[in-house]
Amino acid sequence: MSGLRAIRMWVGGAALAAGLLGAGVASASTLPVSKLWVTGGSLTVAITGDGSYSTGPLTISPPVDIVMGTFQDPILSLPNLTSSSGSITGAKIYSTGLYGQLAPSGTADPGTGALSVDLTSVRLSGSVTSVKYGTFSLDVPLFSSPLSGTYTPGSGAYSLSIDQTTTLNIAPFSLSFHTTGTLSGTVAVVPLPASLALMVPGLLALVGVARRRAAR
């Protein structure tokens, strides 16, 4: 009987320790993001330097969903623009794995409210037709590295601020692309599978402690 009690005590102690430690680990770990609802914000892609080119602010409207772990084409179709000198047609924001980038992913830290999103597979493409010069096409990455921002764990509201520069070496020339803007909306996070595993030892610990007290 004493051996059984000892075993129960050890099991209960171990489970309690695991539950406590696991809870500590859980609070320090991040949760994967399953989806970004982008309800506001705008992006500007510009080439720095004299005579630079800029897309101007591309408003994210209507709101879009960016589903993590999958490629989407399009994420957002931009409206066509026509003027007397030409037109912009077929512009869109999309994600692709064609060039080796990983599908969009992200992590959210409920403890600190930090949000990190990897959207390096997201690109901007479109055509610009000039009456005088003909039709030009463009297909460029929007983000050179993961984006950082903040979110509110309770509501999931987030804000991402973007200010990235990619310098291209076209010897003997060089060219810098500058992406600026903000993205805001709501983020959905997935509970970690580890949370379930941590809950089970915690419950076992409680049962063990209760049985130990009953036995006394």
Partner: protein, 235 residues
């Protein structure tokens, strides 16, 4: 009646001979003149070209955003054949390292005609239509490739400085243009394009050649007839 007949026959024969000689002379003169004049006319007519074998190619760029310099031409890229009358992809690759600029010809969304060129031997000049020359530029980066495409030259090509040597087929073509996108990259700049090499005429015979051949044959035939009439057998 019978005594006069030989006289009349002789007169008629003499008149016929004189007419034939005059006709043959006129025909021969016409043929000789045609052979002299038509080749000159043929030379004055621009000769359609089949291929421009480009052995020298430079693309100088002056752009506030990019800088100034010559776009590099990779080793082994030249000579390159620029085929005329057909669309061709690729024609030439420029750049180096992470940058590749593919020059090709395509109708594009505007349905532009295939590149064409004619050489005028009389003036030693070329006339080209390169509106369908396009570029596809890829610049690799850790964030993924930056892809650009567009016309290589403006739809209305500015006047070119061009030279053609009919004896050797050597040509050179130079033009300057201010464009809103340098090799498709949306930055404005001034381009100076120069290509030189050998022009290959189209293998299809000119329409004037059969006419010249026919005139020559007629001239030769008339010349033989004239000689035959001038010294008839037995005279």
């Amino acid at each position: 009646m019978d005594a006069r007949l030989p006289i009349r026959e002789g007169t008629a024969r003499a008149a016929g001979r004189a007419g034939a000689v005059a006709g043959a002379f006129l025909t021969g003169t016409f043929a000789v003149l045609a052979n002299l004049l038509l080749p000159a006319a043929a030379h004055a007519t621009p000769i359609p070209l089949q291929t421009l074998v480009v052995s020298t190619f430079t693309l100088h760029v002056d752009s506030p955003a990019l800088g100034s310099g010559d776009f590099p031409v990779p080793a082994g890229a030249l000579p390159a054949d620029l085929r005329l009358g057909v669309y061709q992809d690729p024609i030439l690759h420029l750049g180096g390292g992470p940058t590749d600029v593919r020059v090709f010809s395509a109708p594009g969304p505007d349905g532009l005609p295939a590149p064409s060129a004619t050489a005028d031997a009389a003036t030693g000049t070329l006339a080209v239509d390169f509106r369908s020359l396009q570029v596809a530029t890829r610049i690799d980066s850790p964030a993924g490739p930056f892809l650009f495409g567009g016309p290589f030259v403006p739809l209305t090509l500015p006047p070119a400085t061009d030279l053609y040597d009919p004896a050797t087929g050597a040509f050179s073509l130079t033009w300057d243009a201010t464009v809103p996108a340098v090799v498709g990259i949306p930055v404005p700049g001034d381009l100076r394009v120069r290509m030189a090499g050998t022009a290959v005429p189209a293998s299809i015979p000119e329409p004037a050649v059969p006419a010249l051949l026919l005139a020559g044959v007629l001239g030769a035939y008339a010349g033989r007839r004239r000689r035959g009439i001038a010294s008839p057998p037995g005279c």
